[in-house]
Symmetry: C2
Subunit: 339 residues, 2 copies
């Protein structure tokens, strides 16, 4: 592996000039040609470790997520990685396995490894570890989930508004008894905010029995879906606030041979079929009505935001928050009660 010194000897140009050339700064035409010739002859490549030592840039971004086998993340990461690679950045993956302690320690590890930025889908309720990074000048971008009271760049979707709109639409279709199955995640609470506001605005009476909160770490969503389904004079529609709840609904449907929407209507907040090799899920007819997230776009926008922040630096930090739009797809899984 040849070094810059070899290029110096080969070309007769000093390594400082070569270094400048490598950084795209001005060099006389004569030198440029000499340098390029030598580089090509020696097949010289800049050693990013050595250059990182001085400049403390590693051209590496850390991606910290709770679980890569959650189908939500791979499409996002794929696009993020692709975009960042186009700009010369590598992506270090860090799966903290839904463990808050590991989330913090992984962040510290990455900071110590001197990554240039971190994309984080956090499971934390406080943002101390993030603030620590920001103070050190290490940009962090929150993905999908915000952290309360933390001012930080972020990329999310319109959880509140999309839920509000979708529930309004269901109400317009004649549904009055509406149940929901949801978890305590940030995204779910936003979605439930939209849900409740819709009921309120449309003067639907609230029935606390219809709201089933699930602890996804210890409980199975299908149990709660089943509760709603089996309630006498229960809801005519169930709102599943994320894919896990939607899966619960699918299970109940398949196991108990539910007729959708005759027995009950279903609406899911999440992509019903995320993976290219699992699109057949949508073939179980009728496909659930759903609010789907633009995963690829999320990845792309996260990358753009990251690049922008790397450019701007973290001095005079003014958080940039991007909110992308989801897509509501109504299918016959929600009955039209007006008729």
């Amino acid at each position: 592996m040849s070094t810059i010194i070899d290029v110096e000897n080969e070309s007769g140009v000093s390594k400082s000039t070569i270094s400048r050339y490598l950084q795209g700064r001005n060099v006389t035409e004569v030198n440029r040609i000499k340098i390029e010739k030598a580089i090509k002859k020696l097949d010289y490549k800049l050693n990013p470790i050595a250059s990182g030592l001085k400049s403390s840039k590693t051209n590496t971004i850390g991606v910290v997520i709770p679980d890569i086998t959650d189908s939500f993340f791979p499409p996002i990461i794929k696009e993020f990685e692709r975009c960042m690679a186009e700009h010369g950045y590598h992506t270090i993956l860090s799966d903290y396995g839904n463990d808050r302690c590991r989330e913090v320690s992984q962040m510290n590890l990455l900071a110590n490894k001197k990554v240039d930025g971190i994309l984080l889908a956090s499971a934390s309720v406080n943002g101390d570890h993030v603030e620590l990074c920001l103070e050190q000048g290490l940009p962090v971008i929150l993905l999908d989930r915000l952290i309360p009271e933390l001012k930080c760049d972020s990329i999310t979707v319109d959880n509140y508004q999309a839920s509000y709109n979708a529930i309004c639409k269901c109400i317009e279709l004649g549904h009055r008894e509406i149940g929901a199955v949801y978890s305590g995640y940030y995204t779910d609470s936003e979605r439930m905010r939209g849900f409740k506001k819709a009921l309120q605005d449309k003067n639907i009476k609230k029935n606390p029995d219809y709201l089933q909160k699930v602890n996804l770490n210890t409980e199975s969503p299908e149990v709660f879906v089943k509760k709603l389904v089996e309630m006498k004079s229960g809801p005519t529609l169930i709102f599943c606030s994320n894919i896990y709840m939607g899966i619960g609904a699918i299970k109940v449907r398949l196991q108990d041979n539910l007729k959708i929407p005759d027995d009950i209507s279903v609406l899911v907040f999440d992509n019903v079929a995320t993976f290219p090799n699992q699109e057949y899920v949508s073939l179980i007819k009728p496909e659930f009505s759903s609010i789907s997230q633009p995963l690829k776009e999320i990845g792309r926008n996260a990358a753009q935001l990251m690049l922008e922040r790397l450019e701007l630096g973290t001095d005079n930090y003014k958080p940039i928050n991007i909110e992308l739009k989801t897509t509501l797809k109504m299918t016959s899984s929600v009955a039209d009660k007006k008729n």
Copy 2:
């Protein structure tokens, strides 16, 4: 950010000794205490970039795969990353999007970035880029797919033997007319080798019409499944050599409302339900008979093999090849013809 020099000044112990201590080598008790005290006081952390410059170790492993949204990879990567992290290694992810040119360029990028090893699920037919790495002393471990004529560490599953056994079992159940849908991938060709050997050993006549080769880049598996299904006096059983073919079968089944196994029997080589949040696929009854791969174990073994190779180095290179066992799960999707 304090450096080793600060620790030297604070502790009064020379930085070489400190460096040795940091590497876990022997140091007198007195010095150990001084060093630890100073490190704690200064909150010193070793700068991995600087140490990498000298030792040319980055404690980073590159993972190069065709498509992270293929449900096969995330569980493997997750486990691999976890195991490597336990030993102080980070994992750089590189998705080459099923593009052979990008596969090569990504490998070169990683080599240039001085990763300590590469885990590669290759789509290449020749191994020049891999040999280049090995010659430079950069270990490569092939994941899932071997490259013909390339001597290289690898981790695969028993594609040939498992297919052979499964097809034999079907034959014993009375199937004589057996079709297959397969692609040109390395794994598929191994599986088809097992398939053909089973027919041969059991004296089943070959019917070329029953073998449907699919180009997954341009063609849809369901078309070929359908061909077999609609053949007059066609096969009684279809062997789907990978999950994409299995999905084709699911599609045909759902769209044409096929009765399994009354209309036709199905056997799939691959995990029918890979993702924790998509296990409901197996609820479409009867679940397809399948040969499933131990994804987590593949990840773990890949990590172990990588660690071993990092230890051994690539001098006197003798490739280590690990072949893990798959699990055959027979369901009622394969009819018992003996009765």
